[in-house]
Structure formats: structure tokens, C-alpha cells
């Protein structure tokens, strides 16, 4: 049992990237099990961050600094373990739909998902159904997330769902949607599995859908 873990968690919480790197390096040097470093040092820190954000004690930039510090630690540990042993909450493909270039919301969701332990494949903006389909085939995610800011472009969400059906992939992946004009009613109407009003609840939604 390493005594680095408590301090590692604290450094994640305070978003000190350099400190997280050096502590992770020290733990590796001391011969700690890399999986333990992740599960007992890095992840517990990030769990605190998630809880504090939800209760309004931490703000988005602070959460993202913590996530960045966490990722720096992960990058050091990852080469030491087999890919299948790396803890991941799941894979999510995410993008802004065709005809829409707005991406701040989608990027926020993407970062919040990463900080919650998900592997995120970001297909960018103006992503047509084919682009989502290709990413689903290539990465086999548990969830795809689509974002739209406009009432005209939100219609494209349905096209992706239809294409997934045609390709026989609809039951292989959960579909979640979000953006200013989106509501639960709209999600139900187009046959999505879920809607999240903000980035924090998007991560919760993925957790629920992948449970």
C-alpha cells in the first residue's frame, strides 16, 4: 500500500498537473501496481471532483484542470498495463450534427465524460449520419451523443438514428442527445435513449444507460 495515493488524490482535486505527474512517477518508481495507482490514487481524486461540481463547490474550469491532471497521470501509467486492464467507464462517440458548427456544448460534454472516466471519440462538428455510423463501426462505443443548437439541425439527429436502424446497429448502441432546443419529449419522439440538459448530467446519463 503506497502512501502516495492520498496526496495524489488531493493533487487531482486541486488540479496540479505537475504534482500529479511527479507523484505518479514516484509511485511507479516505488514499484506500485499501476492499476492500483489508477484505482486508489487517480480515480478517487476525480470522484471527489465530480461530487463537488455537482454540489456547486467546484466550477467547470477547476473540474477541467483536475481532469487534465488526471489524464497526465493516466498517460504515465497506461504504457505499463494491458489495454484491457485500463479502467474505463465505457466508450462514447460524440459530435455536433450535420449543418451545425456550434461546438462549445459538445466539447464540454466530451470533457466532462472524460473526467468521469469515459473514453471519448469526438467526431467534431457538421457530422452527418454516415460519420456517426462509421465511428460506431470503427470504435464500437456503448453510447453515441449528438448535439445541436438549431431547430433546423436538430432534425438531423433522427437521420442518424434511422441510419443505425437500417444498418442493424441501433440495439448495439445507446443514443443520447442534447443542445438548447432539445427536450425529453423530442428525444422520445425521435427514439433516442436519453436527453441531458447539461454536461454534468450527460455523464450521469451515460452511467445509467451503461449500467
Amino acid at each position: 500500500m503506497s502512501n502516495y495515493y492520498e496526496e495524489l488524490s488531493q493533487s487531482i482535486i486541486s488540479g496540479q498537473l505537475d504534482r500529479v505527474k511527479s507523484l505518479t512517477q514516484q509511485a511507479i518508481g516505488a514499484g506500485d501496481n499501476p492499476v492500483d495507482i489508477i484505482n486508489q490514487g487517480l480515480i478517487p481524486g476525480m470522484s471527489v471532483v465530480g461530487a463537488r461540481f455537482k454540489s456547486g463547490q467546484m466550477y467547470v474550469p477547476e473540474v477541467l484542470m483536475s481532469a487534465r491532471a488526471m489524464d497526465a497521470g493516466m498517460q504515465l501509467v497506461k504504457p505499463l498495463i494491458l489495454t484491457e486492464d485500463i479502467p474505463s467507464a465505457g466508450k462514447v462517440v460524440i459530435g455536433t450534427v450535420k449543418g451545425d458548427l456550434h461546438d462549445i456544448g459538445k466539447n464540454l460534454v466530451s470533457m466532462m465524460l472524460e473526467s468521469a472516466g469515459y473514453t471519448v471519440i469526438n467526431v467534431g462538428v457538421d457530422a452527418g449520419p454516415e460519420k456517426f455510423l462509421q465511428a460506431v463501426k470503427e470504435h464500437q462505443p456503448g453510447v453515441i451523443g449528438m448535439s445541436a443548437l438549431l431547430t433546423t439541425t436538430m432534425l438531423a439527429m433522427k437521420d442518424t438514428i434511422e441510419l443505425l436502424k437500417e444498418e442493424g446497429l441501433r440495439d448495439k448502441v445507446k443514443v443520447i442527445i442534447g443542445g438548447a432546443p432539445i427536450s425529453q419529449d423530442f428525444a422520445d419522439e425521435i427514439g433516442a435513449d436519453g436527453f441531458a440538459p447539461d454536461a454534468g448530467s450527460a455523464a450521469d446519463l451515460c452511467k445509467k444507460l451503461l449500467a
Binding site: Y59, P61, L101, I104, L150, T151, L155, S183
Partner: protein, 486 residues
């Protein structure tokens, strides 16, 4: 009569955030952003126009030399006038410190005044909203207060414009999905105005378009700026930026980058046709770092709006401002506080075409009760801005002497002559004594507003358009429906 020199008179309150030196520094900084960082332009034609104008085009990235910006600032008209669509009367003069108020446009939701429920906005809700705006004396122009969503969405902009123009004669600021929607709307306006030239001379419609922050002009936005210039019609171009999210967290950084986005839009517009009417917008605010909303009620939102007004006056550009809106999810005390603060600051700062009156839920929902309450707040702000007139008549020394210690002023001609113009009487704000308020049903401000809204919807008739004009507009809407059915 004495001769009097060195007398300085304020005929209105004096209010500003930025000094001329600070405005100049921010302008130069925005020009540096355009010259160094540049903007992306997703419309090929716009890139060609920019290249011909002397910009440096590298793929979709366009960098704009300061001289090109200066040229656009010289060619753009310093004033834009918007008219009544029925009479052509030139009511809304966007120039100097004139501040006009109107509603906002594309909320996905609205509060139904009959059920109190938040619902998706429809053609009927937009029609009702426009009737209410038309009836309220302190609202000068109309935006739809909702996206029409109970029609095919791809051509809903045509329905939205039809619902607006049938129910109000006040100038309309409208959105369109793309240039095809915009072209159909222009065609409707030309029919109403009686011709292409007539509309250009007395425009009653201006299009709303926006870049995508940071520093991007999507195809839809750039092509609208070009079409508006070709048609010689005014266009509002309004970056909606959130501090810490799509622009720096610092207020000066917000102003710099937001201004760079506006000025690059101006260059696209003016390079298409010099002298085209252009209205600089800017909903500059913060991203709330807890909820991530785009705030419509924070003090920074007001500070940025007032300082952008200082910039607009410095640049002598007509400006599209924002006021009378709230982050609150319902029409409550918070909504009242936020709207009152923004309306007062807007009236004091003097941006010209001030929209979003009646928005709640950080711009996602509209409320006609909130709009109607704000109609009174705007009236109060108008009184504040009228300031205090100081002269022999208003000092009233002879009258004070005549009444003397212990008398009263109630029965004086002077009182009779001045009390109604010196004081503002709002219609919904309550000043009743407790007992009469009880006798009248002890109603809250919201309840009184709700009654007024329903009364307008049920009893008010806006000036109709001639029947044949209505039919021609309908034909354009139907034509667009057929075009997507193919």
C-alpha cells in the same frame, strides 16, 4: 434679463463605462486580432469578396488588414431607420444614443398565458405574442418571441415571418434559416412595401444573423450578410459570446474578440456593397461556470452591454443591444430584478435596437406576462433618461413664494400644467393603498400582467394588411412548403 455664460446643461443623465482612450485601445486590439489571428469563413463567395477587398485568404482562414476594417467603418452608414409596415412612417431611428426596445426571437419554449405551462412555441403563440407587442406602448419593434415549431421545421422561418407581419405593424427583426428563407421573407416584404425600391427606401424589416464564436462565420451567416448588402437592406450581426467559454474570461478580452467578430462581419457586408445598412450586435456575457448557462441577467452582461454601447458610439455604428431578460426559470423576483437593471442600464447607455425583452430561462423561454411587466419598466427607464429640466419655469420661485410656508400646491395651474409630464404613471406597477388593493382582489404583479395579456389577445386587433397582400404572402409560404415536399 441677465447675460449668462459658462452654463452647462445636462438634458439627460450622463453615463458611460469606457473612456474614448479605452475604446480606441479595444478597437486597435480587435484589429490586431483580425490581422494576426483572423477568422474562418465557411462561404466560398464571401472568401472571394474578402480576397478582392484586400484580405489575406488562406484556405478558409481569412486575415483582415486594419486598412480594410477602416475602409468598412468609413463606408457603413452611421444611421439606419426602420419603418411601420402599414404606414411607412419612419418611427425607429437607430442613431446616436436613441434607445428602442423590442422582444427577442428564437426561444424554443414559451409560457402559455392560459395554462401557465412551458410549451414549445407555435404559430399561434407567435401570433399572440406579436399582437401583445403591437399593443404595448413602450415596445418599438418586434421579434417573434418563439420559434414556430408546429409546421415543417425546414421552412418554419417563412411561417414565423407571416405570423409576425400579420399581427404587428411595428418594425420586425426576423431570423431566417438560410438565404433561401431570407429571400422568401424579402419577397414578402417587397410585396407589402409595394416594390423593391420602396422597401429599400423605407425598410420595416431587418434580418438577424450571427457568427459562431470564437471567430467563425458559418455559410448561413456569411451568405446572409452578402444577400442583405446586395438587396440594400439592413442586417443585424450579433456575436453571442460567453466569457471563459468562447472568449477570454476578462471583460476587455470579451469586448476585443466580440468586436473582432462584428467587424469581420461588417467587412464581409461592406465589401459586398459599400454603404449597405449594418447594425452591430453583441450579446456579450459570461458562461456561468457552475451551470454552464449563457447568462442573460448577470452584472457582467449589463457591464458588457453598456461598454459595447460606448464602443458603438465611438465607432458611430448603429447598435443592437439586449435588455429586459432573465436567467430565472419563471417570472419571479429574480426576473424582475435582472430585467429592471438591464433596462435601466440600457436606457442610460443608449444602444439603439434593444431586444430580448420578455425572455426568461437564460433565453430559452418567453413570457408575455414578463414582457408586459417590462413594458412598465421601460416606461420608468424612459422617465429616468429624460433627466431634470432646470429653468425659471421649473424652478418655480414665484409659485413657491406665493404658496409660502404651510400652503399646498394641489390647486395650482403650474401643478396642473406639469404633473403629468414630470411624472410617469405606469399601468401595472401598483401604488394603491392596502385596503383598495385588497378590495381589488389582492393581485400580484404577475396576476395583473396575466390579465392584461389575455385582454390584449382576446380584444386587441392589430392593423390588418390588405386581403390581397395577405394572400400573396400566404402563396409564398405555400410555395416554400411545396419546395420541401419535392
Amino acid at each position: 434679463m441677465p447675460v449668462r455664460s459658462n452654463y452647462v446643461e445636462n438634458t439627460s443623465p450622463m453615463f458611460r463605462i469606457l473612456s474614448p482612450s479605452q475604446c480606441e485601445e479595444i478597437l486597435l486590439a480587435a484589429q490586431e486580432v483580425l490581422e494576426r489571428t483572423g477568422v474562418t469563413v465557411y462561404d466560398e463567395e464571401a472568401r472571394d469578396i474578402l480576397k478582392k477587398a484586400g484580405c489575406w485568404v488562406d484556405g478558409i482562414l481569412v486575415r483582415i488588414p486594419s486598412a480594410v476594417v477602416n475602409k468598412a467603418l468609413r463606408s457603413v452608414p452611421k444611421r439606419v431607420t426602420l419603418c411601420n409596415s402599414r404606414t411607412g412612417s419612419r418611427d425607429v431611428r437607430l442613431e446616436g444614443y436613441n434607445a428602442y426596445f423590442g422582444t427577442g426571437s428564437d426561444t424554443p419554449f414559451t409560457i402559455d398565458p392560459y395554462t401557465g405551462k412551458r410549451q414549445r412555441s407555435t404559430k399561434e403563440s407567435v401570433s399572440n405574442a406579436c399582437k401583445v407587442i403591437d399593443a404595448l406602448e413602450n415596445l418599438d419593434f418586434v421579434m417573434s418571441l418563439g420559434i414556430v415549431q408546429d409546421v415543417p421545421l425546414l421552412i418554419s422561418d417563412r411561417h414565423q415571418f407571416e405570423a409576425q407581419v400579420l399581427n404587428t405593424s411595428k418594425p420586425i427583426v426576423t431570423t431566417a434559416h438560410d438565404i433561401y428563407g431570407f429571400a422568401d421573407i424579402i419577397e414578402m416584404c417587397e410585396i407589402i412595401a409595394g416594390g423593391v425600391e420602396e422597401l429599400r427606401r423605407n425598410p420595416f424589416m431587418t434580418l438577424y444573423a450571427e457568427p459562431i464564436s470564437p471567430l467563425q462565420h458559418a455559410w448561413e451567416a456569411a451568405s446572409k450578410l452578402i444577400l442583405a448588402a446586395r438587396k440594400g437592406l439592413p442586417v443585424v450581426y450579433t456575436p453571442c459570446v460567453m466569457a471563459g467559454g468562447t472568449v477570454p474570461a476578462t471583460m476587455a478580452g470579451v469586448l476585443t474578440q466580440g468586436l473582432a467578430e462584428s467587424l469581420s462581419g461588417l467587412v464581409i457586408n461592406q465589401s459586398t456593397r459599400e454603404g449597405s445598412p449594418f447594425i452591430m450586435g453583441g450579446v456579450f456575457t459570461i458562461m456561468d461556470m457552475s451551470s454552464t448557462i449563457f447568462s442573460y441577467g448577470s452584472p457582467e452582461f449589463n457591464l458588457l452591454m453598456s461598454s459595447l454601447a460606448d464602443m458603438a458610439h465611438y465607432l458611430k455604428l448603429p447598435m443592437f443591444g439586449t435588455a429586459g431578460c432573465s436567467d430565472s426559470n419563471l417570472v419571479d423576483e429574480q426576473a424582475g430584478i435582472e430585467a429592471a437593471m438591464s433596462i435601466a442600464m440600457t436606457a442610460l447607455s443608449g444602444p439603439n435596437l434593444n431586444h430580448d425583452v420578455g425572455y426568461i430561462e437564460y433565453g430559452s423561454t418567453s413570457s408575455l406576462e414578463f414582457l408586459t411587466i417590462n413594458n412598465d419598466v421601460i416606461g420608468m427607464a424612459r422617465r429616468l433618461v429624460r433627466g431634470i429640466e432646470v429653468n425659471d419655469e421649473t424652478l418655480a420661485l414665484d409659485l413657491i413664494h406665493k404658496i409660502g410656508p404651510g400652503g399646498h400646491f394641489l390647486c395650482e395651474d403650474h401643478t396642473m400644467k406639469h404633473f403629468k409630464t414630470e411624472t410617469y404613471y405606469p399601468s401595472l406597477i401598483d401604488r394603491q393603498r392596502y385596503e383598495s388593493w385588497m378590495e381589488n382582489g389582492s393581485k400580484t404583479l404577475f396576476q395583473r400582467a396575466n390579465e392584461k395579456v389575455k385582454d390584449i389577445i382576446e380584444n386587441y386587433e392589430p392593423d390588418p394588411l390588405p386581403k390581397d397582400v395577405q394572400q400573396k404572402i400566404r402563396a409564398i409560404v405555400e410555395r416554400s412548403e411545396q419546395s420541401i415536399a419535392k
